[in-house]
């Protein structure tokens, strides 16, 4: 049994802690704020396999299969619901592009199909059918509650012996050659140190700072925090806009009904580079811009009330694909999820845990594709299809 330190108490860190504990490893998990406070609780809840490249499609197909069994495995209601993703085309060219994507997705067993707007209206009763030509519909996509999912993992991880520490900040490492030997952390103003056999950097937007502490170049894995904002309505009766509905050509605007309280979450690709890693300030242009599109997608939304607007980070790499793999002999990274960390977590956590504990994984994760050294080599992947 070896001792693994995980840095970052978001969904990736917590889920990996659970998977490692399941494999019998000893885990100490650090979160500098409270669990989930970074990006996990700020996410839009969506889960999809409708990507446009093989690596992400295969990874997410596997992730969805894990999601389907997660509630049973963790014994906790995480509000996972397969209510689908509905992408909407506004032009003939886009319909053609959708068809190509669908062919690729079908090839790997993702059951996406092209639907007409009558069917779309049945699925989303408040949908505006008029501007759209067709939809790409995968009923197996869905959503879950980020907070409950994180806590379900956390409760089970603790039962399996994970030492999970909130409000505990990692401040440095001890390193011998390419091996990290100890993690230094501060809690209640006191700095302590713990010997470790392996370290996972799961700090997402904060990951470059952790890499730097490990003696690596800060931009070895270039991750930039972009404020991705959302607004949400008051709770509404379920069934009015269950799938994530997104016309990609409208600046990636989308709406999705919260799987628990039924409030409708609205997002759009109006992005601002965060001024700092504390910069969660929502912006006025977003508030108006997002609702302009949301009411074009679902006009009856005009009668709902917005109760809050918030920002979280899309921790973006240059190709919007995460960095997953090994950086030093015993120093690993799973970060830079560019908005897809929550949906990928069950698959990535399992793959990462198996890699750390056994040196290999049965998860269909294309290690070359997500190689954290690819940026240094100047090898960028085709951009992952962005929207949550």
């Amino acid at each position: 049994m070896s001792k693994v330190a995980i840095i970052g108490g978001g969904i990736i860190g917590v889920a990996t802690a659970y998977e490692l504990a399941k494999l019998g490893e000893e885990v100490i998990l650090f979160e500098k704020n409270y669990f989930g406070s970074g990006s996990t609780f700020r996410c839009a809840t969506g889960i999809r396999a409708q990507f446009t490249d093989e690596a992400n499609i295969r990874l997410m197909k596997y992730a969805v299969e894990r999601w389907e069994k997660l509630e049973e495995e963790l014994g906790f209601d995480i509000n996972f619901r397969q209510t689908g993703y509905l992408f909407l085309a506004t032009s003939e060219e886009e319909v053609e592009a959708f068809k190509n994507n669908i062919r690729l997705q079908n090839k790997f067993g993702v059951p996406t199909r092209l639907i007409d707007m009558d069917e779309a209206k049945e699925i989303v009763p408040i949908l505006n059918t008029e501007p759209f030509l067709a939809g790409a519909w995968n009923p197996k996509d869905g959503k879950a509650n980020p907070f409950k999912t994180l806590f379900a993992y956390l409760f089970r991880a603790k039962e399996l012996g994970v030492d999970a520490r909130e409000h505990t900040e990692v401040v440095g490492f001890e390193r011998e050659g390419d091996v990290i030997t100890a993690v230094k952390f501060r809690s209640n103003g006191k700095v302590e140190s713990v010997k470790v056999d392996a370290v996972l950097n799961a700090a997402n937007a904060w990951a470059p700072l952790i890499n730097e502490m490990a003696g690596l170049k800060r931009d070895l894995v270039p991750i930039t925090a972009y404020k991705h904002q959302l607004v949400k309505t008051e709770p509404l009766e379920r069934g009015q806009a269950e799938p994530l509905v997104c016309p990609p050509s409208w600046n990636d605007a989308y709406i999705i009904q919260d799987g628990e309280d039924g409030g409708i979450i609205c997002g759009v690709g109006i992005e601002h580079r965060a001024k700092s890693l504390d910069d969660y300030e929502p912006t006025y242009d977003f508030l108006r811009g997002v609702l302009r599109y949301a009411t074009m997608i679902a006009p009856p939304l005009r009668y709902a009330h917005i109760v809050r607007q918030w920002a979280g980070f899309y921790a973006k790499t240059p190709d919007k694909n995460p960095a997953i793999g090994k950086l030093l002999d015993n120093f690993y990274i799973a970060a830079g999820f560019s908005g897809h960390g929550f949906m990928m977590a069950p698959a990535v956590a399992q793959a990462m845990a198996e890699l750390i504990a056994k040196g290999r994984s049965k998860v269909p994760l294309d290690w070359d594709w997500y190689d954290p050294y690819r940026f240094e080599r100047g090898e960028l992947r085709s951009s992952a299809f962005q929207i949550g």
Partner: protein
């Protein structure tokens, strides 16, 4: 109707539910808020948050000034979507 002690009116969260969660070891107000959805309804936590802080203080022995108030968010009162888009034009 049963004798419930309601803390969060919007989501019908009772004092017993909050105490039970604290007993399970969840003592961060942000976590309690999100797990029970206290303060996440249309009143935006105005009525319930001081009560949650009081319960948390009583159960954990913390002083109320050691429990941070969850941040208020825009809009600080619910606003109809059509107003934010361009005004009620009907």
């Amino acid at each position: 109707m049963s004798g419930k002690v309601i803390i969060c009116r919007c989501n019908d969260v009772t004092v017993e539910e909050i105490e039970a969660l604290i007993d399970e070891g969840v003592t961060d107000i942000e976590e309690i808020k999100r797990l029970l959805r206290v303060g996440m309804g249309p009143c935006q936590g105005r009525t319930c948050m001081p009560l949650v802080i009081a319960i948390l203080a009583r159960k954990t022995g913390k002083k109320p000034d050691e429990i941070p108030l969850p941040r208020a968010r825009v809009p600080i009162r619910p606003v109809r979507v059509e107003v934010l888009v361009g005004g009620d034009d009907e």
